[in-house]
Subunit: 233 residues, 2 copies
DNA sequence: CAGTGGTCTAGACCACCCA
DNA sequence: GGGTGGTCTAGACCACTGT
């Protein structure tokens, strides 16, 4: 692993284990550089991730301080399952569709591929702690996700991607809006027709710039909760 | 202004004006460094912001490319008014409350101040293009926002902060969930009692690490739209 | 004024992609 | 193997804070 990530993990651990306490001042850059045997810039890089995580505030002229984050970080760069497990919940999936189809105009644009390229089209209902909670409509290029089977979709596609294929997820763009449940959604999520759902549209990028997922998830409003942290760069 | 921000603005302009087109490869770091008379690291910093903006993908081994973002970027680091204006909409405000009160336990914790510190408590209904759209419940420390008047709240508090006080907004943490409208919300937003609203809870930080706002906004579901871009650092 | 973080440079070395 | 980005160093200088 890269040096600054190791340092990041170490300092994060110290904060989570209260070795560095709330509002406490961290050692300055030079001291940390000495401790971790690296340059101050590398320390800065590590601390910048903690800032992005919302765990640290850096004050020019006075120092870096531990900050209390609002949230318990549900990351949209992990799969539904990983997030649920982190909160100690059980997830099962109910496949409504698992097909390989050629990309139409709209999908090709979203996945930045050519029309006609082969695409997995997967529709799953995710059941979290026995409650149908999300219906996910997912498109993924076959040439990137080669070897994906219906068995993987029963478990976690994200684990297949990162553990089997050794691909690295880099970033995503997402949009949240509120929509009305159609008949299929109403049936599968066990809500009234036209009841409101939270729609999350997402495009997910790999490390190498390729797009591996375009998806639209619709969540029941009772269970949906999203938290994040912005930093103006 | 800082060098890397200038470079960022310049390159962003080129992308928006299609001088660099969709999927086109940007010049490499060394060339850009020559053009802008700076080191490659400074170029990297500028491009990293474009990556965070979702306008650029950098591919190790092949180059940096212009990417089409999903969204039209509604930033939660700007105020309601600035965002509305960017989309060509009219905003007016209806003040339900403008008080100075001592911070109770909960507010003091959110604002990271002491119990009893004086706090502006402001409740406003924002009317966008003649439609009551958001009800905002805002708490701000008096010692930071000194001189804030009810006139400012009719317009844009954010503009007062950045233009008058010359403070710089740095980051925020936010949480989104769905709640049911109470009587006050129902009346002011003109929706049925218990109808669903999008609740956005936010803590906003200044450049110097101080918190200047804790707020809970409730949006009508028809109009709420949120988009963002994540990068795993 | 001393302490601390932010920006910037010049250069080294490595990892990855593609022809 | 040549092109390109990512990480890292050592050191300079500037901006802001608090005493």
């Amino acid at each position: 692993m890269v040096k600054y990530l190791k340092i990041y993990e170490t300092i994060k651990q110290r904060i989570l284990e209260m070795e560095y306490r709330l509002n406490e001042k961290l050692p300055d850059g030079a001291s940390l550089g000495k401790e971790f045997d690296c340059s101050e810039l590398t320390i800065k890089k590590a601390l910048d991730i903690l800032v992005a995580d919302g765990l640290v505030v850096r004050k020019r002229g006075s120092g870096s301080f531990v900050k209390r984050p609002l949230n318990t970080t549900t990351s949209h760069l992990h799969g539904t399952k990983a997030n649920a497990i982190k909160h100690g919940k059980e997830v099962t999936s109910n496949n409504l569709k698992f097909e390989i189809v050629p990309a139409d105009e709209r999908i090709a644009e979203r996945l930045n591929c050519n029309r006609g390229d082969l695409i997995y089209h997967i529709i799953r209902v995710r059941i979290i702690d026995s409650l149908p909670t999300v219906i996910e409509d997912t498109y993924m290029p076959v040439n990137i996700l080669n070897g994906l089977t219906i068995e993987h979709t029963q478990d976690s596609i994200y684990s297949f991607i990162t553990n089997q294929l050794k691909l690295k997820i880099h970033s995503s763009t997402m949009e949240i809006s509120i929509v009305k449940a159609n008949e299929i959604e109403s049936e599968n999520l066990n809500v009234p027709l036209n009841d409101k759902l939270v729609a999350v549209e997402q495009i997910v990028y790999l490390d190498n710039g390729d797009i591996f997922e375009y998806s639209i998830s619709k969540h029941t409003t009772d269970t949906y909760h999203f938290s994040t942290n912005f930093v103006r760069l």
